[in-house]
Symmetry: C2
Subunit: 220 residues, 2 copies
């Protein structure tokens, strides 16, 4: 089985929507999804950009688009307890070493809690309960999440995502190429079918396109 | 016929890809596309955000995603003469008063020139030629594009897009609601079919979600 890496942060409703679709897509093409929790805010920092929730018109639009898309896909959705929120507790818990099926159940439960049940996953007691409901030792996981090892793990996975060229979540990595966002799934699926352009290991014919105009850098 | 407004800038390859799809979508639902040229850079300025071409990892990804998507949709695509470029000449020409079929042919020709033929539309002679090829008076249009009236028209349309809540291109406006980007077309189509959530004129249940964490503002 080949690996389909799934870089995600629970803070992103698009990561949630994509999570609900990516398993079936991977199954169709004999790939195995490997969830890799990263801190979206750190990707934004490293790329010098703002997140959708930090631009008022985009924030308003994003929630509507997410509601429309969840409705279209038939995916449960409920307003989150707060947003943006600090996802580190949930990310660290999700980065624990676990057998694959357990890891998937854990990631799924935390996504569902955040985006389908309105449960505040910044609260340790909530994360413990959600984790217990999928048969894991919630107390131990939450305790482990406060260790330097857990903190370092999310940092390392985030650094790895940046090394791969990521700038947002969700980012999928398959066949050595990045696919960003829910809307990249049709292109990802074609890539797994061997269709479409292949960029890995090739010179990118677009890389040499020069700018002929630049905008004054926007200021916060 | 109801109007489906299409706010666009020739600078955006996603606006081009969406343009190649939006006519058929509108036809299927008895809507008429009304192309509205806007300056994407002004939308970015007003919203305090960067464009994809201004974030190196995103720029590299965007060109690949566009190539994959064009291939998937069967849409012709060629690297542009330069990018980003100053789109004002083409936008102003496209904002001229013309009968609907002529306007569509003009917008289509300028999109094709930019994204399918690698023609530099910042050059007046090129814009004249492209315009002539669709049976319009290229010389007159290019001359008019330098008038205060032409400049004011693109400014006004851009201000209108901002008033409507736009923050990027392409943005479609139908049934009083905004749809942003190529990936919004399935949701737009459902909206025209009367499916999915309706936000127009309703209280938005997500509008009151409060942040519980904020990221330090990123600096350029």
């Amino acid at each position: 089985m080949k690996t389909l890496a799934f870089y995600f942060d629970f803070i992103s409703p698009y990561a949630y929507l994509t999570w609900t679709q990516i398993g079936a897509l991977a199954d169709r093409h004999q790939h195995e999804v490997e969830p890799r929790p990263v801190l979206f805010a750190a990707l934004l920092d490293a790329n010098g950009q703002k997140g959708p929730a930090e631009i008022p018109r985009k924030r308003a639009y994003t929630f509507r688009d997410v509601a429309r898309t969840a409705d279209r896909l038939g995916v449960p959705l409920a307003p989150p307890a707060s947003h943006p929120f600090n996802p580190l507790l949930a990310l660290r818990v999700a980065s624990a070493d676990l057998p694959k099926d357990r890891k998937h159940a854990l990631v799924d439960a935390l996504f569902q809690a955040t985006w389908a049940k309105g449960i505040d996953v910044t609260v340790a007691a909530n994360v413990q309960r959600v984790t217990r409901e999928v048969g894991l030792d919630g107390g131990q996981l939450v305790e482990w999440s406060a260790t330097p090892e857990a903190k370092e793990r999310v940092k390392k996975t985030t650094a790895r995502a940046l090394d791969e060229g990521a700038f947002g979540v969700p980012t999928m990595l398959a066949e050595g190429e990045l696919f960003w966002g829910l809307d990249s799934l049709p292109n990802l699926e074609r890539r797994l079918e061997g269709k479409g352009p292949i960029f890995r290991g090739r010179d990118d014919p677009w890389a040499s396109i020069a700018p002929s105009a630049t905008r004054r850098a926007s200021r916060d």
